[in-house]
Amino acid sequence: MTGSGPVAGATAEVVEVTGTGPIGPYTLLRVAAGGIEPGIPGQFFMLHPPGHVLPRPMSLCRVDGGELCFLIDAIGPGTRTLCALKAGERLHVLGPLGNGFDLDVPHPLIVGGGIGIAPFPYVAQVLGGGPAILGFRSAHHAEAAALLPGAEVALDPVLVTSLLPAEPMDVLACGPEPMLEAVRARAPQAQLAWEAPMACGYGACYGCVVEVDGRLQRLCVAGPVLRAA
C-alpha cells in the first residue's frame, strides 16, 4: 500500500473509446501512456474531462503496450464527458496517486462489485492471474467480467460475500460501500479500495475525507486502499 511520490501531470491523447459492446454499460477509455508511469495497482489517476472545472478520480484498469486503460461508468456529467471523448482528443491526466494494493501477500483473492472491477485487470496483470469473485447487478453489467477471465460471477440477489471461501485469504476488494463493509466484517485483513468525491487527488483540498481510525482523513493521501481493520 505504497506509492506516494511527486505529483506528476501530463496531457495524454485518446487512442480509442470503446462502446458498450462486450463490457456491459461501461466504457473503456484508452489513452497513450507517453511518459506517464502506470504506478501500483489500486492507485488512481485524476482525469480531467475537457470543459469541466474539476478532474475525476479513476483507477487504472489495465496497461496495454503503451496505453493506459480506464473503465468508466457514466453516472454523471464528468464521466459522461470522459466517455464521449473521441480518438485523437487530448485530456489532462494526473498520477499515479495515492496508495495502491500491497500485492506481496500469500493468498490474494480479488473481490469486486460493479464498477469496482475497474482496478483488478491491472492487479491480475501484475499478479499474473489469481482467483477472483465479481458481483454485478445484472447479466448486462456482468459482461464486464470478460475483463477478468476466469472470475467467478455473482448476480444480484446473490452477494459476492456469500461466495467468499471458508479458508482465510488476502482479500483485495473494490466496490460499493455496503459490499466493502460486508467484506470488512468477514475478512479483517482485507485491503479495501474506497471512494469519495475528490477535487484534487493529491492532498490539496481536504475534500475527500473519510473516517479512518476515528479521525477524518484525506482518502487520496491515506488511501484509496485501506486495511479493513
Binding site: V7, A199, A204, C205, Y206, C208
Partner: protein, 281 residues
C-alpha cells in the same frame, strides 16, 4: 521584482505536495484556528457549471500543533510562509497573531475575515484587524469577502485599522442540489463558490479596492491562465493567487508564470508588474 504567485489559502498542502509549493513565491497555509478542528462532515465538494463549492469548514490542527509541527516542517522546505488566521471572535484572531509574533519564519499574516463555511465572528472586519494590529508587528493582510455591498468601504476600514495589504477575494456562498433527489449535495448544504465563475466578481472587487486604498493587493478568484492573472494585475493586484486551478493542474504556478510573462511581452510590457492598474482610468 516581478509579480509573485501564491496559492489561495486552503487550496494546497505544501507538506503533501512539496513540488507544487516549490513553484510558488510564497506558500499560504490553510486557515489556522485557535483549537484543532475536524471540519465539516463529507460530502464537502461539488462541481458546478463554471465553478465548484467547498464546505471544508476549516479542518486543521489548531495553533499549538501548527507551531510545533507544521511550521518547522514548512521552514525545512525553505518556503516563504504566509499564515492564514481564522477564528470566532477578535480575541481568537489576536491571540493567534500574538503566538505568531514570536516566530521569524512567518512572512505575512493573512486574516481570513470571510469564510462562508463557519459562523462569522460577530465583530466587523475592521475591529478584528484593529485587535490584531495591537498584538503584532507582522505584515497583516485582510482577506475580504466579495459578498459585500460596498467592498471599497470595507477596504478603507480595514486599512484604517492597520491592515498592510488586502487579499481579494474569498469565495461566495453557493449551493448545489442533487438533480435527482433535489437535496443539497453538500452535507452542510452551503459551500464556498470558487473557480472561473468568480473571476468577474474578483476583478470588480480588485478594481474597486485599488481605487479606494493604496496598499498591495493579492488578487485571486478563478485564475486559470496567464491572461486571467494579467487581468487581475491590470485591475490593481500586485500579487496573484491560484486556488481551484491547482486541483486540475498542479503545474499551474510554473505554467501561469510563463504565460504571464508572454502575455505582458506580447502587449509591449517589459514585466507583468508594469500592467498594474492599467484598467483604472
Amino acid at each position: 521584482m516581478s509579480v509573485s504567485l501564491l496559492n489561495g489559502s486552503g487550496c494546497l498542502d505544501a507538506l503533501t505536495a512539496p513540488g507544487v509549493a516549490a513553484q510558488l513565491d510564497a506558500f499560504v497555509t490553510k486557515t489556522i484556528t485557535p483549537e484543532p478542528r475536524e471540519g465539516n462532515p463529507p460530502v464537502r465538494i461539488v462541481e458546478t457549471e463554471a465553478g465548484m463549492l467547498n464546505s471544508i469548514g476549516l479542518q486543521g490542527p489548531g495553533i499549538d500543533a501548527f507551531l510545533t509541527e507544521t511550521l518547522p516542517r514548512l521552514a525545512a522546505q525553505h518556503l516563504r510562509v504566509w499564515v492564514s488566521v481564522g477564528g470566532f471572535s477578535s480575541s481568537d484572531y489576536a491571540g493567534i497573531c500574538e503566538r505568531l509574533e514570536e516566530r521569524d519564519d512567518v512572512d505575512v499574516v493573512e486574516l481570513n475575515l470571510s469564510c462562508p463555511n463557519v459562523d462569522e465572528a460577530p465583530e466587523s472586519a475592521a475591529e478584528i484587524v484593529a485587535a490584531c494590529r495591537e498584538r503584532t508587528k507582522a505584515r497583516l493582510y485582510a482577506k475580504l469577502s466579495p459578498a459585500n455591498s460596498d467592498i471599497a468601504e470595507s477596504a478603507r476600514a480595514v486599512v484604517a485599522a492597520g491592515a498592510d495589504g488586502l487579499t481579494l477575494v474569498n469565495t461566495l456562498r453557493g449551493m448545489a442540489l442533487d438533480p435527482a433527489t433535489l437535496k443539497p449535495r453538500l452535507a452542510r448544504a452551503f459551500g464556498g463558490y470558487s473557480g472561473p465563475a468568480l473571476k468577474p466578481v474578483a476583478l470588480a472587487c480588485v478594481l474597486a479596492c485599488a481605487r479606494a486604498v493604496d496598499v498591495p493587493i493579492v488578487g485571486l478568484g478563478g485564475v486559470q491562465s496567464g491572461q486571467d492573472a494579467l487581468e487581475l494585475i491590470a485591475a490593481g493586484a500586485s500579487v496573484v493567487s491560484l486556488g481551484t486551478i491547482l486541483f486540475t493542474d498542479p503545474a499551474a504556478p510554473g505554467r501561469i508564470r510563463d504565460e504571464l510573462k508572454c502575455e505582458a511581452t506580447a502587449r509591449g510590457y517589459g514585466d507583468p508588474l508594469e500592467v498594474r492598474g492599467v484598467a483604472n482610468g
